[in-house]
Symmetry: C2
Subunit: 402 residues, 2 copies
């Protein structure tokens, strides 16, 4: 992602990120993203039966409205598990924004991320909102500030951008995402906002978003934990003046490819910035009998603390990979499994292969490691991203709340 693009790059989007005082550190903690004209909006949310109050309100608001004007995001507090007051607080925050935007409160969505079980500091939120509103800007830097204000344990901002041509018009799409712990299908403690100036119907946008998120955000696991606030939203305001993107058209394919690119980019950045991570790990399975078997295996390997600590230790311990595949619930013949690490064959037909340990070490010392598991059961393929498991994961999570 170029530093020259951000969530404000598509036409008609403004953003702001300010310090409202929700984070003890004084870092930016309140972000506002606004579309100049109402935007059709699609979303994908956590499947956790426990849901944060800001998220529940967003889901309900989107059932009542076709279009959205703004999204308010706070970090430092998840606004979850505090009882009925939690949803009232989210409603009050949305109303404060809608008063400034002169729109219906339902046209303002709310996202919260941070610690669970503590009431939002509403004084901070309500005094931060006008500051954010007056800081709203079309500048690229304003989008970067909004990104900063979403971050919790993230070490790096995660932004991505794509551009396609529709007729003689240029359609842009930009995304930002936060999340580095509690990340796991289906969605993590993740908030991602995507803006586009494309013209598209809400239903079609929702279909695409669901398809694309299944292949991207729902294929990232940092620690197997799924949070209660996970939210992926896309706002399309049509301000590129391009023709509407219709199902079955070439333009639809182009647009979906761009969405896939942006989501894949953000999802990989999340895995790479996993709490304590030193490496991005991609696990791919081919030759599975069913899509479910392929998914079970990538999930099991990505979730295995033993595989993840071995990669942290730069140890080509493929036995742990085969073991994790073995207990995944997938059905396969162990004696017909090949495993490659960074392209280096380490296991053939379920047996140890003699391999150059020095070459394996060089592969594992890289920032990105590809693990390939090849079965001979069928034609199905899947892949997933995770990160290694380090001392710092324990450090970060042994002391997050206090």
């Amino acid at each position: 992602m170029s530093q020259n693009c951000s969530i404000t790059s598509p036409k008609g989007f403004r953003a702001a990120g300010v310090s409202a005082g929700l984070k003890k550190t004084g870092a930016p903690d309140l972000a506002l993203v606004v579309s100049d004209t109402p935007a059709v909006t699609a979303g994908v949310y956590t499947r956790n039966v426990v849901k944060g109050h800001s998220l529940v309100r967003t889901i309900e608001a989107l059932q009542r409205t076709e279009t959205v004007h703004g999204v308010l995001i706070n970090s430092g507090n998840a606004n979850a598990c505090v009882g009925a007051i939690g949803q009232k607080d989210a409603e009050e925050a949305a109303r404060a924004v809608s008063d400034l935007l002169h729109c219906h409160p339902d046209q303002v969505l709310t996202c919260s991320t941070g610690v669970i079980g503590q009431r939002l500091n509403m004084e901070a939120i309500l005094s931060g909102i006008p500051v954010a509103f007056h800081s709203l800007s079309h500048e690229v830097a304003a989008g970067h500030l909004a990104m900063q204000a979403m971050m919790t344990t993230d070490l790096v901002p995660k932004e991505s951008f794509a551009r396609i041509s529709i007729g003689d018009k240029t359609v842009s799409m930009a995304g930002m995402a936060k999340g580095s712990g509690m990340i796991h299908p289906n969605l993590g403690t993740m908030i991602s906002i995507i803006t586009t100036d494309a013209a598209i119907s809400r239903d079609f946008l929702q279909q695409m978003l669901s398809r694309v998120s299944a292949k991207t955000f729902n294929r990232v696991s940092v620690d197997g934990d799924t949070s209660v606030c996970d939210t992926l939203l896309i706002l399309a305001n049509g301000m590129s003046d391009s023709a509407e993107i219709l199902p079955g058209s070439n333009e639809a394919d182009l647009f979906e490819d761009a969405l896939l690119l942006v989501c894949l980019d953000l999802a990989r950045m999340m895995a790479k910035d996993g709490e304590g991570a030193t490496k991005l790990v991609e696990v791919e399975v081919s030759g599975a009998r069913t899509p479910e078997d392929a998914y079970r295996i990538v999930l099991s390997v990505c979730r295995s603390p033993l595989c993840k600590t071995a990669i942290f230790g730069e140890d080509a311990n493929w036995g742990r990979i085969l073991t994790a595949a073995g207990y995944s619930g997938a059905s396969f013949h162990p004696e017909e499994v090949d495993i490659l690490i960074g392209g280096l064959p380490v296991c053939k037909n379920g047996c140890a292969l003699p391999f150059d340990e020095a070459a394996a070490k060089r592969i594992l010392q890289k920032d990105e490691v590809l693990i390939s598991i090849r079965l001979r059961e069928g034609e199905c393929f899947d892949r997933m991203w995770t990160c290694d498991f380090s001392y710092d994961y324990v450090k970060i999570n042994g002391s997050y709340r206090s």
Copy 2:
């Protein structure tokens, strides 16, 4: 477990533990347990589709024989994923023992634990077997030595003992277990051998073992990884001279209670000795709608790295516990969940409770921590044991193989 009891305490069992040279450190690595008369034997094994060669051979041998004379256990090498030679090696080792015991090779079972994908050092095994055979002894200390020879990353030996009266006879039961990483239902990288001088049929023994292991060994999770070698065996040689234990009798209840006690004891010791563990954590769920829901929740909490690192950090972060319950797949109403940590209510009706953080800290500083999750969906209960997730887990597993 008293230092005065070991696997040799039941009548007619001898044991040995010697250093055959399989471990680089020179620590004991070859154990032999022998019953003076053939013992009826039941077993429970890993459900991993990848199985170690010594284990596959044991399962096959038990299909051909009714009784067992001895069990050979090596640490330092799992004898797994090395191809057809692996099972031949296990057969050769068993034959070397059966030659000395003057029995059929099938009456000698084989268990291996350690690194995956490297061929067993058969020279070491075959020269170690006669040494172990000549060291066999009924002494308690010989049982302790066998325990030592099974250990891999275990820090402490795990032995347990129980005694019941059947008529005017005393029936004894002793167990030993190894395993501290790659432990997870269904069974971990665990080997456990239980001896008893009870008289009992094989079928009835198997039924009891399956029931008891479901409540004990299959309710322990250290890291969510299930190994390829996990084996739980019980040998009953009848040498107490008591009457046969028959289904439906009071004696059967007594015996099953004793077996539960021994297995529970060993399972809790395994969780407490989990790799890098500083605490034993018991998670119990009550009021679930179905047994499956109760199990899903205890499993999800016991598996959550975020819950386990919070406990390591002695942080009463119940939000992570509720979150893990929420993504477990169990169906429940979050607004009707209470959570207690060490008896201290921290969450009521899904909401934060004000609680004394100092009191919570005192509870979490203890060696054993009980997490209680109370639903109001039904009457079902389950519990499971795990440990916290520490820097040392990462250290141990980032450098195990090399």
